[in-house]
């Protein structure tokens, strides 16, 4: 499935303090089958595209700062500073330190969940029955919770480090009384979401089913992943300007990277 293999990680600091990639644009492409997991460290300035090839995919994802693993994706901070329950284009994904791991620069899906967590071995057993490795080899029914433990463990992370993750392509709405409603029709074939990384980020991901998916069989949906160089962030960037909070988030991230100007309040950038 690997179609291109010429990723050039070299980068330079562009005028204005943003990182721009060198011109050899792509990159790397791969397909992660349904019910699998992977992890990678992504540099600032990289664009990561997730594509739901068949429809109905779910991608669980967590972010950590590889230089300080205590800094991690914080869903409550991300939601409350953007006054949103869902994630979509224009939103920035924040660490607990007020910095932006990545921005959602494109999204054909419109609604991604970040409050329902992972499916577990127990839920899989109750819903579909467990397929073991012994009987089914790599078609076993892996679960998102254990998938994060495996990928996180490779970097020294464990149970204490788990946090509320993103579930890309999965829509869970909330009714007036607070009840959760999983919308199985949300994830369309070919839907994609583009993440532009604003700082170096450890990405843990899995393609296990959403915990509220009650499909008749364990859904095993492949996801294409493409890495390329993102265009430099311009001053009129949609994500950065979508809310005054995001201007400040970008200022915090620039300050951390040591290449931005740091002024006060909403006028900073």
């Amino acid at each position: 499935m690997v179609t291109k293999h010429s990723f050039d990680g070299r980068s330079r600091v562009a005028k204005g303090g943003r990182i721009a990639m060198s011109k050899s644009n792509v990159s790397y492409e791969t397909v992660i089958g349904g019910g699998k997991h992977w992890s990678l460290i992504v540099q600032a300035g990289v664009l990561l595209r997730l594509t739901d090839r068949e429809g109905g995919a779910n991608v669980g994802m967590l972010f950590y700062n590889p230089k300080n693993l205590l800094e991690r994706y914080n869903a409550p901070d991300t939601l409350k500073c953007q006054h949103s329950f869902k994630l979509t284009r224009g939103h920035c994904l924040y660490s607990d330190m007020g910095r932006i791991f990545c921005s959602i620069v494109e999204d054909t899906n419109g609604w991604h969940d970040t409050t329902c967590g992972n499916i577990t071995q127990r839920l899989i057993a109750e819903r579909w029955g467990v397929k073991t490795y012994q009987a089914h080899r790599n078609d076993w029914t892996q679960n998102g919770h254990d998938a994060f433990l495996v990928e996180g463990g490779k970097y020294g992370l464990g149970r204490r480090d788990l946090a509320a993750n993103i579930n890309w392509f999965s829509k869970v709405a909330v009714a007036d009384d607070g009840s959760l409603e999983f919308d199985a029709s949300n994830a369309k074939p070919g839907a994609h979401v583009d993440l532009r990384f604003e700082m170096e980020t450890l990405v843990l991901l899995h393609t296990c089913p959403h915990p509220l998916n009650v499909a008749s069989e364990y859904p095993r949906k492949p996801v294409q992943i493409r890495l390329s160089a993102a265009p430099p962030v311009q001053s009129d960037d949609f994500c950065m300007n979508s809310r005054p909070e995001n201007l400040r988030g970008f200022a915090n991230t620039d300050l951390y990277r040591g290449c931005g100007c740091h002024t006060s309040g909403g006028e900073s950038q």
Binding site: A75, T115, H145, A164, V174, S264
Partner: protein, 216 residues
């Protein structure tokens, strides 16, 4: 759902006022009941629970709301751990709705939400970190600070996917009470946030009370 408790404050085995902006940490034994009182009204109590027998197994907001199929906590809500164990259950609640989506305020998130120059304002996360440093016998640290409950806070979600911080539903003397399903460490930050209406711009005291197990 609102439900009053029949426990009498005079029979509590422990009573403590938690001043605005302070923290409280202690261990609750299985079967004990913990009541948190919003003494003057409109005060957020940022609360975390840890399984005392296995502190890596701690309160999980996402597992709790997914299992009950609802984002709001109230009477009957079982507070689940990351491993799916029930840590405590809310058994009385005079308010009717509590938040577990909004997390704790932090100096760093304040810079994003309000102003970069507000980074030195007191915040719940600082209280949590200090509590764990001053009580390091628990073996807990920043990595254990996951997404908490905000008792007495009202954070409505709209059907369109919006999130709002509304005026609190709580008032003077309102309370929430839970029964420990196992031995749990409880960590509360009495929220010092001054930038939004979660504390009515005037943080005030909380009171915690504990009663011994009502069943052997």
């Amino acid at each position: 759902m609102k439900r009053y408790s029949d426990l009498l404050p005079g029979e509590a085995v422990f009573r403590r006022i938690v001043p605005a902006g302070d923290y409280w940490i202690d261990t609750l034994r299985r079967g004990q009941r913990l009541r948190i009182v919003d003494v003057e009204g409109n005060q957020a109590a940022d609360t975390l629970f840890f399984n005392a027998a296995d502190v890596a197994d701690r309160y999980s907001a996402v597992d709790t709301i997914r299992a009950q199929g609802n984002v709001y906590l109230s009477c009957g809500s079982k507070l689940l751990s990351t491993a799916g164990n029930v840590l405590a259950e809310i058994v009385a609640d005079t308010v009717g709705r509590h938040d577990t989506l909004g997390g704790a305020c932090a100096s760093e998130s304040n810079t994003v939400r309000y102003d970069l120059e507000k980074r030195t304002m007191h915040a719940c996360r600082d209280s949590f970190v200090l509590a764990l440093a001053q009580h390091d016998g628990y073996g807990l640290g920043k990595r254990d600070l996951s997404h908490n409950i905000n008792f007495f806070m009202n954070v409505p979600v709209t059907p369109e996917g919006g999130l709002t911080f509304a005026d609190g539903l709580s008032g003077p003397g309102e309370y929430v009470e839970m029964r420990a399903a196992t031995d749990v460490i409880v960590l509360i930050s009495n929220c010092p946030q001054l930038n939004n209406p979660c504390n009515a711009y005037n943080p005030t005291p909380l009171e915690v009370l504990i009663w011994d197990a009502d069943v052997p």
